[in-house]
Amino acid sequence: MVSAPTQSAGSGSSHWQMPVPDSIDRILGGVSGGIAREVGLETIWIRLSFVVLFAIGGWGGLLYLVAWGFMAQMEYLGRGPATEPVPKGRSGRRRGIGAGLVVLALIVFFGGLPGVGSDLMWPLGVLFAGILLVSRQVGTARLATTGGRFGTLQLIGGVVVALGGITLLLFSTFDSGNSVGMAGISIIAGVMVAIGLVALSAPWWWRMVRDLDKERQARIRSDERAEVAAHLHDSVLQTLTLIQKQGNDPQTMRNLARRQERELRNWLDPDRADRSGQSVRGQLDEMATEVEDLHGVPVEVVVVGDCLVNEPVAAALAAAREAAVNAAKHSGAARVDVYAEVAESGLELFVRDTGIGFNVEAIAADRRGVRESLQGRMARAGGSVTIYSEPGAGTEIEISVPRPEASNPTNEGPSDQ
């Protein structure tokens, strides 16, 4: 009846939760108050139940001690209701009634009605009182701090009391006439002491594991935070400061903002950042940033597939860079598009602008340098360059390079790099 979960509707919470000691409505440990709060009964009924049970062979006292230890542990672990207890029953009259009930119970217990099993009652009571002392101490003190002299005393006292309980328990078993020999008794004694020690130290171990875990997680969180803060400081804040100083130069501001945007996107995309530098995608991103910075024309890069950079691929990327620089410098277009497609057969790169364009044949003579350097370079790398351009219709430069290891089924890309 005491813990009937169906009664919990009255407590105001929607579902059953572990009771924790009530810090306000209490006489001894706040156990009755805590249970009452969860079950939704008047505290007095819970108290009465304990008293009646205590009178019958002392079971109520034992139950109270066990509940106290358990609930204190729950409270420490934060499993109880999240809300603060509602102040109630603080009045002296209620306290008086409660105290009276405890005294009444003690009188009834000592005055007679020795119920069943009272032989075991005292040893068990003492044992649980010890455990309670220890677990309360462990529950309230931080792992690092010992909780002062009182705390230590409480801890030692708890251990002593608990061991005393074990001894009493032993004697009562011994007294009840079992004909076990001395060897049997010492084995039982050893086992019981061991069990007692485990029971006593369990909360402490539990707490230590939990604390270590908590501390580890807190450390991870603060490390992450520090890393993010450091990065934002180096990048975004720096750029914003620069932008404020360059307020009268829109081109520089645009470049700064754009470079920062690229950088931030790379940082947010861990996959991209992981392999920047050694892949076609990474290299093209870097190239686009550099060309934008140098010439102030946005370079849009679209890449399909990806591969690691080997010598012919590096040559193709260098040629693409040259083409993009030319487009940015000479075409007058507002944007340069770079498209790269990595297939099993090879790499194809397209650098395109919609600028002024030129007559490929007519201009060949004075642009020889550019054409030669592009075409010569790609020829040496085993690839090719084709230039499409028309005056007024823009320019597109197609660069392609086969993959020498295209017949190789491995997906790892060149390993000789």
Partner: protein, 213 residues
């Protein structure tokens, strides 16, 4: 151009909305603005615009949620996604929800107006990046396509997508392939339909995109 499509602008940042509005100028008629999913669905149902310019990330959901909400209430309108995100998952999810195209906020004002008008006329709009995603998604060889009609691009469609990825406009593609602009539009609408309906595993598994061949 006298035709002025009506537009609802959905973005949670006031500054972005103001910027986009300024870029659109007077060639389209912005009839409403909205900052979250609920507001957007209400405004679209209320004003039934020709085109909705839709941000992918909203405080209370995604652009795909807006599309689903409008469709659930029987609304009929065309959506063009407009976002700073270039993550393939974002792009593909909003397209699969029913958007007719995807452009990034870096797009120039005039290109944006063209895109809005194209969507209003029922065409698809592929930015170079979206075209790149499409090629990627459909490029991995699959031994037995569930539905070849939906799971594979025709050679012509592939060609169109590659030119779009290279930065070509429809007009330029038409000239280059010596086909009519109408045909280019038909191809890209067909690709959009495949993108929305295909069951290809690669569409959701973008890890494949990161492959290093």
């Amino acid at each position: 151009m006298t035709y002025q499509p009506t537009v609802v602008l959905v973005d949670d940042h006031d500054l972005v909305r103001a910027g986009v509005r300024a870029e659109l100028g007077n060639r389209v008629h912005v009839v409403a603005e909205a900052g979250d999913v609920h507001e957007a669905v209400d405004a679209i149902i209320d004003r039934h615009p020709d085109v909705v310019l839709l941000d992918v990330h909203l405080p209370s959901g995604t652009g795909a949620d807006v599309i689903a909400g409008v469709l659930a209430r029987g609304g009929e309108t065309k959506f063009l996604a407009l976002s700073v995100s270039d993550a393939p998952d974002d792009v593909i999810s909003v397209i699969r929800a029913g958007a007719r195209g995807y452009v990034t906020k870096a797009i120039k004002g005039e290109e944006l107006v063209d895109a809005v008008i194209r969507v209003a006329e029922g065409d698809a709009v592929f930015s170079p990046r979206l075209a790149g995603f499409v090629i990627d998604a459909f490029s991995a060889a699959i031994p037995e396509p569930v539905d070849p009609e939906l799971d594979l691009l025709s050679p012509r469609e592939q060609e169109v997508m590659r030119l779009l990825a290279r930065g070509y406009a429809y007009k330029e593609i038409a000239r280059r392939l010596t086909i009519s602009i109408k045909t280019v539009e038909t191809h890209s609408s067909s690709v959009l339909r495949k993108l929305q309906l295909s069951s290809r595993h690669e569409l959701s598994n973008w890890a494949a995109r990161r492959r290093i061949v």
